[in-house]
């Protein structure tokens, strides 16, 4: 019923509604994925995507013209996620930002090739499983870069930080991931060795 009404309106105007629904069809999956990876809550992620689109629709109704929906949708969703964190997390996002925001990073951390070299040593599948364990400021940039495929400039505009800060965060996020993966591998190796010793002792 709702579809019919909106579609008839679309037939009359063939304008804002059509563009908006096209944006929904194109980006809803990516937005949901981003939200789900950021907050690790399936139902809540759906709600955030819903809220994102309703807010954008309200904006359209006020007469604003949105030339490109993608960055605008990501911006609204990102703000909603920050709100979500502020509601739930004991440790505020501001505190997290404060911890690393003042550090401008070393030369290695600012180097793209250094990040590439670092990433080359990491198993992406394992890293994906460990995303939840990253602090949000790091998780955010990893998801934006490797899941959503945003460039440095887009990310900078979205989270309102300098590109250097973004690079530093990516570098540190990768480092953390590598350490975690290495720790995980070591632990698995230790377990495997321990199991082998038990088998030998039994024989």
């Amino acid at each position: 019923m709702g579809d019919q009404v909106v579609h008839s309106a679309m037939g009359a105007t063939d304008g804002h509604e059509a563009r908006f629904l096209a944006a929904y069809d194109e980006f809803n999956e990516a937005l949901f994925r981003h939200a789900k990876l950021r907050i690790s809550n399936h139902e809540r992620a759906i709600d955030l995507v819903h809220d994102t689109y309703t807010k954008v629709w309200s904006y359209v109704r006020q007469g604003y013209e949105i030339q490109t929906f993608r960055p605008f949708l990501y911006k609204v969703l990102n703000n909603l996620i920050i709100d979500e964190y502020r509601k739930k997390k004991d440790q505020s996002l501001d505190a997290l930002l404060e911890q690393e925001g003042v550090d401008e990073g070393s030369f290695d951390e600012l180097s793209e090739s250094s990040a590439e070299a670092l990433a080359a040593t990491i198993d992406g599948r394992k890293a994906f499983e460990l995303l939840e364990e990253l602090p949000d400021v790091y998780r955010e940039v990893i998801i934006l870069k490797f899941v959503d495929g945003l460039g440095p400039k887009e990310m900078s505009e979205l989270i309102e930080e300098k590109e250097n800060v973004i690079s530093v965060r990516i570098h540190r996020a990768l480092k953390i991931l590598r350490h975690k993966i290495e720790a995980q591998d070591e632990l698995a190796d230790e377990k495997r060795k321990s199991a082998a010793r038990k088998r030998n002792a039994t024989k």
Partner: protein
């Protein structure tokens, strides 16, 4: 890194909505759009991104245009202010022939007329409109721009406003005869003053010959408006309470106008206006004092007070009237009792002086001597009648006759060449405006206004017949208005006719 990126991205693709969840989310958003639709103007507007195909189709049956509603609303207030405030304000200064004159007459004044609900105020407003038309005609005449067409237009407007006012008065008469009588008095007073002013301006134009503009048509229109139709019932005097209320309103208005005029009028006019206001207030006080004992007399006095008040208000509010006519013509001075006594004594002394002169004269020519004897007898008779006369009006008539006789006799003696013993004459009384006015003691009495004569300079006494008077004005005995002497001038008086 590419490997890492691909692995991570591939893994992330496993995070997705189920088909049911996706459909449900879309329904929720579509419902939201349904309950929060776009505003009508946005629906009417074309899509922000038009397809080139659509734009390139010149034969399209329908075309849509984007109206700048936001700008229209933004400037709507300014446009409304211009239309509703600025234009009417500017139009108020328009005269016939101006572009905005139609706005002034057909919109400003009609709106105000429509918003005036009280019938009495409606009549007053029509009188104000009438004054405005005449003032506009005078402005044009002064500028030499009063064309016959414009004059006819103003005359027509005068007739129309008068007719409107009279129609309103007749309607009022059905519901409230008192208010109708007061309104009629107000209208008549306005018309009378304007008639005087127009007569003055026409005379001035003739004398100066500075402009060919005449206001004859307008004067005729006013004259016709002043005429009472045959069978027009003489209005009964309004009820006392309403008269008292209107008189109080009028006197208050006079004082306000006096204060507001301030420096706009010269000092002489200020003195004259103040004197008239004092006269009116004195008469009003006298009328108020009689409300308990002699109601009818009080009504007559207050009705006359109201008439004079209205005339003075028109004189004070209309600049063109002030410039065209003397205040004495509009509202003559009313002497106080003290002033009358002084005037009476002066006139008697003058007549006695004439008698003494003439009795001491001895003419050789028998015919002239006989004629002189007749004049002396008549003068003596007048002198005797004066002594027996208490009424001031009758006294003024008799004394004027006596002074005229004395003057004629003096001329006769001078022409005969006989020596004349000339004892000095006593100066006559003159008011600040050199005028004396009184009214008759009954509504059916005809009175004469008497001019004071200065025999030494041989001025001619001017006696004007007045028409019927309707009210009695008795000066307050305790009033002590200062009386100025004017020994070297001839005073003339006129009694306001009604």
């Amino acid at each position: 890194m590419k490997r890492f990126s691909e692995q991570l991205h591939k893994k992330s693709q496993t995070v997705k909505l189920k088909k049911a969840e996706q459909a449900d989310l879309r329904d929720r958003i579509v419902s939201y759009m349904e309950y929060h639709p776009l505003p009508a103007e946005m629906k009417a507007a074309t899509a922000p991104t038009k397809s080139p195909t659509r734009q390139s189709l010149p034969l399209e049956a329908f075309a849509t245009y984007k109206l700048p509603f936001a700008q229209m609303f933004k400037f709507g207030g300014a446009c409304a202010a211009i239309v509703l405030v600025v234009i009417p304000f500017v139009a108020e200064r328009a005269v016939p022939g101006d572009t905005l004159y139609a706005v002034k007459v057909n919109i400003n004044e009609e709106v105000r007329s429509t918003l005036t609900l009280d019938p009495y105020e409606k009549v007053e407003w029509e009188a104000v409109r009438l004054n405005r038309r005449i003032a506009e005609a005078r402005l044009l005449a002064d500028a030499g721009l009063l064309t016959p067409a414009a004059e006819a237009e103003v005359a027509q407007a005068v007739k129309m406003h008068t007719a409107n006012a009279k129609a309103e008065i007749e309607l009022m008469r059905l519901s409230d005869a008192d208010d109708a009588a007061i309104a009629e008095l107000s209208l008549d007073s306005t018309l009378t003053v304007q008639a005087h002013a127009l007569a003055g301006s026409v005379l001035s134009a003739d004398v100066n010959a500075t402009t060919s503009a005449r206001t004859d048509l307008i004067a005729i229109a006013i004259g016709e408006s002043l005429e009472k139709p045959a069978g027009h019932a003489t209005a009964t005097l309004p009820a006392l309470p309403k008269l008292v209320a209107r008189v109080e309103q009028g006197t208050t208005r006079l004082r306000e106008l006096e204060a507001s005029l301030g420096t706009e009028i010269d000092s002489i006019t200020t003195v004259d206006v103040t004197r008239r206001i004092e006269d009116i207030e004195r008469a009003a006080a006298e009328g108020f004092a009689l409300t308990q004992d002699a109601e009818t007399q009080a009504q007559e006095i207050l009705f006359d007070v109201l008439r004079r008040t209205q005339k003075l208000i028109v004189f004070m509010t209309e600049l063109q009237v002030r410039e065209s006519v003397a205040i004495e013509t509009v509202v003559p001075v009313v002497l106080t009792l003290d002033e009358r006594n002084v005037n009476r004594a002066t006139r008697i002394t003058q007549i006695d002086t004439y008698l003494n002169r003439l009795n001491a004269t001895d003419l050789e020519d028998a015919a002239l001597a006989e004629k002189l004897a007749e004049i002396i007898d008549r003068l003596q008779s007048v002198r005797t009648e004066i002594n027996a006369t208490e009424d001031y009006v009758a006294f003024m008539i008799l004394s004027s006759e006596g002074l005229a006789l004395g003057k004629d006799a003096t001329l006769l003696v001078e022409q005969s060449g006989a020596p004349v013993v000339v004892p000095p004459l006593v100066d006559d009384v003159a008011t600040s405006t050199d005028a004396i006015t009184d009214t008759a003691s009954s509504s059916a009495t005809t009175t004469d206004a008497v001019a004071d004569v200065e025999p030494e300079v041989g001025a001619v006494a001017e006696i004007e017949d007045t028409t019927q008077m309707q009210a009695v004005v008795i000066p307050e005995p305790s009033a002590t208005t200062t009386v100025d002497a004017a020994p070297a001038t001839t005073s003339a008086s006129s009694t306001e006719s009604q």
